[in-house]
């Protein structure tokens, strides 16, 4: 069971959180102007990253807030968590291997 650093509450155990999919995908607007292919890409196409993956989490059983995280998909470990308003941090060097 991982410990996850909520940017608002601090370190909390994994069951308090819910995964929210890949981060930094803004809903395109106005949606009416998108082609079918563009809309399909937005709906269904996601990265399948090996390594540092930017993703959304929500501290559902805590403060209830969404935040973003950088997680290494090969180890499951979180490299960083950050608020929605913040840009993704660079992955720490030691995780780049």
């Amino acid at each position: 069971m991982l410990l996850i650093q909520c940017p608002y509450c601090g370190e909390r155990p994994e069951p308090e959180f819910v995964y929210g999919g890949q981060a930094h995908i803004a809903r395109p607007q106005p949606s009416a102007e998108l082609s079918d292919q563009e809309w399909t890409n937005f709906l269904y196409r996601r990265n399948n990253t090996r390594g540092a993956h930017a993703e959304r989490w929500r501290h559902t059983h805590g403060c209830g807030r969404f935040f973003n995280a950088l997680r290494d998909t090969t180890t499951d470990h979180f490299l960083a968590t950050y608020k929605l308003s913040e840009p993704p941090p660079r992955p720490p060097a030691e995780s780049a291997e």
Binding site: L34, R58, T75
Partner: protein
């Protein structure tokens, strides 16, 4: 029977406290401090079980949790029956009743032993090939037979009556293993100011110190080891170290979460009433010290599994800790120095040591002197050709062997064979933590190399064997762990950075130490055409021949060989077998051990009871139960409940003598003709408030909310962005900036989560606040033609049709209680939903119920609610929709705000596939025979008796008998359904294809006149 093999003195037992027990119905006596294994040995009983596959007689290989095959069942009563316990871990108590397993009719005479003779026909992987044909026979013939013949114990037949506890704990340093390394680590850590938990799987803390002999007792800090141990434990306790004996660390989870299982009462003759039997700890440690020791390796030679053949360290433990002589005349076979200590201990206790067969070419000088002085003959460069003895070893055949040539063969009589192939560091937990192991040439073992967690290994589990070095290694680990755990500025429990760190090297051991412990891995050399089974894995009955077969059949990866032969699997997890299996395969493939890698160690380290995992989460406490404020009224009035998610909902209120069908018919007719009262409190409710509330609702729901006046309601449809129906419910506008949103009962949490998601991540600029009010409001639906007079006398507002038309909301009081009154209907009748603060729900319900008596009111449940709504063609999201249904499919196209620039799912609805005419659409189905009620979920076919394979054109989503209409009705999703009105289709049912006619989904009052009354 007397304890004929008990020494007169010594050991950590209390000879004065005699304990009676039974094994397979025979009465024996042991003493306090015994395990079942030591007590049986004291009585000269060596045959404890039959092996898994071949039913070979088995005794005790080991003295601890690594014992692979002496598995027994302990019975307290019919419900308290625990199978597959290691006899070495069962602490003796007065009256203990134990049974052997895997034998019939008895341990001594076991018919299953015929498997041993049949063994040429059941080689490794036999389950995969021998019985493949005929395939069907696998299920009813082969598998049950094999399972019955080859297996472990049976499960208890009654529910477990015991209690189990669970506990969360946090500490600076968790030390696993209370041998010399762990004790030193705990002492150093607490000395540095850390909060420390120290756990050990044994009943006493002390590890290897518990098995030291008086002959050569080590001296620690100027005291005999036993005294030092007592002093150290007292000191640790005084310094508030949490000491947990009988506590196995069985699982290592990310971020230093270590699961411990503490056995609290299994060692007691009469456990206190209600005392928990076990406690499962989830310990979150800032730093972990693994001091898990090492396990002696057996040697692999033909006939190495007979009772009386055991590890040398086990024999030392029997003698020195339990005061038991494991035999009278022993032969020692060894590739390491430790066995010499055992031989000398046993000889001093009176055993005859017939010979030490030294696998190595020479005996270390110091030991040679000792054996010479003791008069023990030594054969160097030795191997074992075989053993004999049916239920106990009687003789061993030794020889020297060079390049397959046998010389100096000799057969020695003995009733005990000690063996030692050196020590394998216990890296199970380290490996579970995802740490990487690396082969160490000096130690000749896999040792911790790269960390995945904030952990340290200390002592024998990382190849440090000599006592003084073990203690300093432990102390260094404990001090370092404490330093890091309590370092100023340390962020949280698990800051990043442990991952990928290399393990700090241990101080190098002396050449003698390493040479003494290194030992031998693999099978002892044998002449060509050697006979007899040489076991590698005792628990799974895997022999050298099985491993050779696997490689002959082309298996190369050790992970594949493990699965094909089952070596290292099951509850044993290769504790005694792993390295030998590698050694054997390495020899066959001509590939070095380090190049083959190691199989993954699975948790649990030793088996954990289901009860320990369940804890208190069983029976009524298995899941939370949600009840409405009116629940007790429903109970009192005979409601039959159903589970809807976690909610208990009244399904129907049968009168005496009524079954479900009759009750529902009566309830339905009463609502249609008079009035019904229904508990709708489980509906999800969300208050959407703020200056941008209407904008938010417009973006979320399909409907046009700007045009909804304050005081009015609208049926809202919520899609996901993929265009499919996600939820629905009535939404009321309480004020310009305030909406009272209702959701389906099951959908409330996910709708709120979806709202929060969009509000927080897409539109954080909107001034909107979301509050779940599901449990704040009790909701009482009053439905039926007499609903208005029932309520009118209780409320302080005008309920006339003019003041409160269909789909309106008003704020007022009922029985003096604040109320939001909705005029809405899920039944098709004139209807109201009374929302009052939850605490007043029961009282208001009773008042309405009372007032309704004059108007023919009846309580009704969810089943009637379902029938009534289906008669009106109202969908239930999740029943009539399945995540692939668009609003248009469900007949809800009218609920889409056509002029809105955007809402969730709008763009998706324009994709070609979403507008195709042959999509499945919601229609009504009327069976040609009005008495036939279709099965929900049944497929709908174009033709009767269509030859298979065929494609259904739809399926039935809802189906009921309608008392109001005097016939059955059904809703269905049918391809191009609305264009098929009047068409006859066929629904395959158990009794045959049922013809049905496609109809409108609105079966009752299609014009809605009753609704608007």
């Amino acid at each position: 029977m007397t304890q004929g093999f008990r020494t007169v003195s010594g050991g950590r037992i209390d000879r004065a406290r005699v304990l009676r027990f039974s094994f397979d119905g025979h009465a024996y006596a042991g003493v306090a401090g015994d395990t079942l294994a030591s007590a049986l040995l004291a009585n000269g009983v060596h045959l404890l079980g039959r092996s898994f596959k071949y039913h070979r007689p088995r005794g005790l290989l080991a003295a601890g949790s690594e014992e692979p095959s002496a598995l027994v069942a302990v019975r307290r009563d019919a419900a308290r029956y625990t199978p597959n316990l290691r006899a070495t871990q069962v602490e003796l108590y007065e009256g203990l009743e134990a049974h052997s397993q895997n034998r019939w009719p008895s341990l001594a005479l076991d018919f299953g032993a015929v498997n041993d003779l049949l063994s040429p026909f059941i080689p490794a992987g036999f389950y995969y090939k021998t019985f493949m044909w005929p395939r069907r026979a696998w299920r009813w013939l082969y598998e049950p037979r094999i399972r019955a013949a080859a297996g472990l114990g049976r499960a208890p037949t009654q529910p477990d009556p015991d209690r189990y506890a669970s506990r969360y704990a946090h500490c600076d340093v968790l030390v696993v293993g209370a041998g010399p390394a762990g004790l030193a680590a705990a002492a150093a850590a607490v000395g540095a100011g850390a909060r420390v938990i120290l756990c050990d799987e044994q009943n006493e803390l002390g590890g290897s110190l518990l098995s030291d002999s008086s002959r050569a007792a080590p001296v620690i800090d100027g005291r005999p080891a036993a005294r030092w141990l007592d002093d150290t434990l007292a000191d640790l306790a005084a310094r508030q170290v949490t000491l947990l004996p009988r506590t196995t660390a069985f699982g290592y989870f990310p971020h230093n979460l270590v699961a411990l299982n503490e056995r609290l009462t299994d060692h007691l003759a009469i456990p206190a009433a209600l005392a928990p039997r076990e406690r499962q700890w989830q310990v979150r440690a800032r730093e972990v010290v693994l001091a898990t020791g090492a396990i002696e390796r057996p040697l692999v030679f033909p006939g190495n599994d007979r009772p009386g053949i055991m590890l040398a360290a086990a024999a030392r433990t029997w003698l020195n800790r339990y005061g038991v002589l494991p035999g009278t005349r022993a032969v020692v076979v060894t590739a390491s120095d430790a066995a010499y200590e055992a031989a000398l201990d046993l000889q001093q206790a009176g055993l005859a040591i017939a010979m030490i067969a030294e696998v190595r070419d020479a005996v270390p000088a110091g030991l040679a002197d000792l054996t010479r002085a003791a008069g023990i003959p030594v054969l160097t460069g030795a191997t074992v050709l075989g053993t004999s003895g049916r239920r106990r070893v009687q003789a061993i055949r030794l020889a020297r062997i060079r390049h397959g040539a046998v010389s100096e063969p000799k057969t020695l009589r003995c009733d005990l064979v000690l063996m030692s192939g050196g020590f394998t560091p216990s890296v199970h937990l380290f490996s579970q933590s995802r740490g990487t192991l690396a082969w160490d040439d000096a130690v000749q073992a896999f040792l911790p190399a790269v960390l995945a967690e904030r952990a340290r290994s200390a002592g024998a589990c990382r190849g440090v064997f000599e006592l003084a070095r073990v203690r300093s290694d432990g102390a260094a680990a404990g001090a370092a762990a404490a330093r890091e755990a309590t370092a100023p500025g340390r962020e949280g429990v698990c800051p990043a950075g442990a991952l990928g760190r290399s393990v700090a090297a241990a101080a190098a051991g002396s050449a003698e130490e390493l040479a003494g412990a290194r030992g031998f891995a693999g099978a002892l050399p044998q002449p060509q055409r050697a006979r007899g089974k040489a076991f590698v894995d005792w628990q799974n009955d895997v022999t050298t021949r099985d491993l050779a077969l696997a490689t002959r059949e082309g298996f190369r990866s050790i992970e594949h060989i493990k699965r094909y032969t089952t070596t290292g699997m099951a509850t044993d997890q290769g504790k005694t077998s792993n390295l030998n299996a590698l050694g054997v395969v390495s020899g066959t493939l001509g590939k070095a051990i380090p190049d083959m890698g190691l199989t993954t160690f699975r948790m649990p380290y030793t088996p954990v009871t289901f009860g320990s995992f369940a804890g208190s989460a069983r029976g009524d406490l298995f899941d939370p139960v949600r009840t409405t404020p009116m629940h007790s009224w429903a109970v009192k009035n005979g409601a039959v409940f159903e589970d809807v998610g976690l909610w208990k909902r009244a399904r129907h209120f049968p009168c005496p003598g009524e079954d479900l069908h009759r009750a529902v018919n009566r309830e339905c007719l009463t609502v249609r003709n008079a009035c019904g009262i229904f508990d709708a409190s489980t509906l999800g409710k969300i208050e959407v408030v703020g200056k941008d509330a209407v904008t938010f609702m417009n973006r979320l729901y399909t409907n046009a909310w700007s045009s909804l006046a304050v005081g009015r309601c609208r049926y809202g449809v919520l899609l996901r962005d993929d265009g499919f129906v996600y939820d629905d419910g009535v939404v009321a506008r309480m004020a310009e900036d305030r909406f009272h949103v209702t959701t389906t009962t099951g959908g409330a949490p996910r709708v709120l989560a979806l709202m929060e998601d969009y509000l927080q991540t897409e539109w954080p600029d909107l001034g909107v606040w979301l509050t779940s009010t599901t449990e704040q409001w009790a909701v009482i639906a009053v439905q039926g033609p007499t609903a208005r007079p029932v309520l009118e006398s209780l409320v302080d507002i005008d309920m006339s049709a003019a003041a409160m038309p269909h789909m309106s909301v008003a704020v007022g009081h009922i029985c003096g209680v604040p109320m939001r009154l909705f005029r809405v209907s899920f039944s098709g009748e004139l209807g109201f939903e009374v929302n009052v603060p939850a605490d007043f729900g029961a009282a208001v319900w009773e008042a309405i119920s009372e007032a309704g008596q004059a108007h023919g009111i009846t309580p009704y449940g969810t089943e009637t609610m379902h029938v009534l709504r289906a008669e009106k063609g109202y969908i239930i999201v999740g029943q009539d929709t399945d995540g692939t249904v668009t609003p248009e499919d469900a007949g809800l196209g009218w609920a889409i705000g056509k002029n809105k620039p955007d809402f969730l799912g709008k763009r998706s609805l324009q994709r070609p596939a979403m507008t195709s005419a042959d999509r499945r659409q919601l229609v009504g189905l009327l069976t040609v025979d009005p008495a036939t009620v279709l099965d929900e979920g049944a497929q709908v076919m174009l033709e009767p008796a269509a030859p298979v394979p065929t494609r259904p054109i739809g399926h039935v989503t809802s189906s009921y008998y309608s008392a109001t209409l005097g016939r059955s009705i059904a809703l269905a999703l049918i391809g191009g359904g609305r264009s098929r009105s009047g068409q006859t289709l066929y629904v395959p049912m158990p009794q045959g294809d049922v013809p049905v006619q496609v109809a409108s989904p609105v079966f009752y009052d299609p014009k809605g006149e009753r609704l608007n009354a």
